[in-house]
């Protein structure tokens, strides 16, 4: 448990690729990601997908724990407001995500590490664009070091 590594910026290794964890809601965003795959749209392989029933299943604990475990970036994606499979899950989640994002930025965690989006089941192309965008943003930040727990 090296206390030092919470703030120590690790050396960036050549060819470092960010690892991004993506929480995708089953009904919309996960289906959209699936559509991207079926359509053979190429997008960066940096994301690891976790399927959740609804974006509101994503608790701030998931996001913060991911950052603590060294994930370089987090993406949470759900149905467009008004289209939530569970009617209002994403609307409740939206408030929670807003507060979390503001708070993390205030602490000093780089805002581009934690990303939220609404992707529908029909938006395969848009999903791949989103992943490209997020990977680029996180790559520019370098490996995660704030909040990361020591070895």
């Amino acid at each position: 448990m090296e206390q030092g590594s919470v703030s120590k910026k690790p050396a960036v290794v050549e060819e470092w690729e960010p690892r991004i964890i993506a929480f995708l809601c089953n009904w919309c965003s996960y289906a959209g990601a699936d559509l991207a795959g079926i359509s053979r749209i190429q997008y960066p392989p940096n994301i690891r997908v976790v399927r959740v029933p609804c974006s509101s299943r994503v608790s701030p604990y998931f996001i913060i724990k991911s950052l603590q475990r060294g994930w370089d970036g987090v993406l949470v994606s759900g149905c467009h407001p008004g289209e939530c499979h569970y009617i209002s899950g994403n609307l409740i989640a939206r408030r929670r995500f807003a507060v979390l994002k503001d708070m993390l930025e205030y602490i000093g965690v780089e805002p581009d590490r934690v990303n939220f989006s609404w992707i529908s089941a029909a938006e395969g192309e848009r999903f791949s664009k989103l992943v490209r965008e997020v990977v680029e943003k996180v790559k520019a930040l370098g490996p995660a070091h704030r909040l990361v727990k020591g070895e």
């Binding site: 008004g82 408030r95 994002k101 503001d102 708070m103 205030y106 965008e133 727990k149």
Partner: protein, 316 residues
């Protein structure tokens, strides 16, 4: 405040004698200088123990949680708002509580007083709204009370309890235009690195005693997230990452619920200023959702509702 001593005792006596309540919770003189301590009275013969002065800092709404009995509780403006939050969240039965409002213009911060005494021990002290007189082995000093109030009191905009059944004395004059987010604004004007360094420095002395959590009326979960083991979200050691996350998550849990009574910062044995985090949560909720905690028992908790037009500028 002198005349009020009798009103306080009378109010408590009346409530107990008339059977309106089984228990009165108030403040009595503490055992060390400049301290008060919570006081639990069931017998109207004991009401002489009750006091009210700027040492009455504890948030007594804490003691209402999980109670079945009918309780009369003395509340300052902030304490009353905590009670309102807990009532709105279904943790306190409004009908079983008699809120006795106290006219508060602030409580003293003992840490501020100690810091000007340069290590000299206070052996005896008196305090009223105007001045604090501290006496030690070879010194006596008079300090103006208003210079030694808690930071949360300096930015308080709700001195009058938002809900009360009985008001002791006159409702205090309000200061509606305090710059309550001055410290938050200052931090926001720093770079992310500077803010991070600030929070690392501030939180690194935390020993995970949880006094901040335990004095807070809004921290009433039977199992706190720190104790959850399946899964264990975050570690319980004083590892800096785990410690920072404890405070960040607690602040998130309190966003829109914290009333800035200051009890947590006052209770911290290591002198950590928790308000810089909690006040940010309050500011976020106020700016985004126009919500202030503890104003109305009927208003639903802000994070449990939504509006179609909630801002989503952060969504990419």
């Amino acid at each position: 405040m002198e005349g009020l001593g009798n009103s306080i005792k009378e109010a408590a006596e009346r409530l107990l004698n008339e059977g309106d309540v089984d228990l009165v919770i108030g403040y009595e003189r503490g055992t060390t200088p400049l301290r008060s301590t919570p006081c639990f009275i069931r017998d109207s013969g004991d009401v002489d123990r009750l006091i009210w002065d700027p040492t009455c800092d504890a948030n007594l709404a804490k003691y209402l949680i999980g109670q079945d009995a009918k309780i009369g509780v003395f509340v300052k403006g902030c304490d009353a708002r905590s009670a309102v939050v807990c009532i709105a969240e279904g943790q306190i039965d409004r009908d079983k509580v008699v809120l006795i409002g106290l006219p508060c213009s602030g409580v003293v911060d003992r840490k501020k007083i100690d810091s000007v005494l340069d290590g000299r021990e206070i052996l005896d002290a008196t305090v009223d709204e105007e001045k604090i007189t501290v006496r030690g082995e070879d010194f006596e000093e008079e300090l103006p009370t208003k210079n030694f109030l808690c930071d949360s009191c300096l930015s308080c905009r709700h001195r009058t309890p938002t809900v009360y059944d009985i008001m002791i004395g006159d409702t205090p004059t309000e200061e509606p235009d305090t710059d309550e987010y001055a410290e938050v604004d200052e931090l926001e004007s720093m770079t992310a690195e500077e803010r991070w360094a600030h929070f690392v420095e501030e939180l690194s002395s935390c020993i995970r005693c949880y006094s901040c959590r335990n004095v807070c009326p809004m921290c009433y979960c039977k199992e706190c997230f720190v104790d959850e083991t399946m899964p264990a979200w975050f570690g319980k050691t004083n590892d800096l990452s785990d410690t920072m996350i404890y405070h960040i998550v607690r602040s998130l849990h309190l966003a829109g619920r914290c009333v800035d009574c200051g009890a947590c910062s006052r209770s911290c044995p290591m002198g950590i200023d928790l308000r810089t985090l909690l006040k940010k949560g309050e500011k976020i909720v106020k700016e985004r959702f126009s919500f202030e905690a503890g104003m109305d028992v009927e208003e639903k908790p802000v994070m449990s509702v939504f509006k179609q037009e909630d801002s989503e500028e952060f969504v990419i």
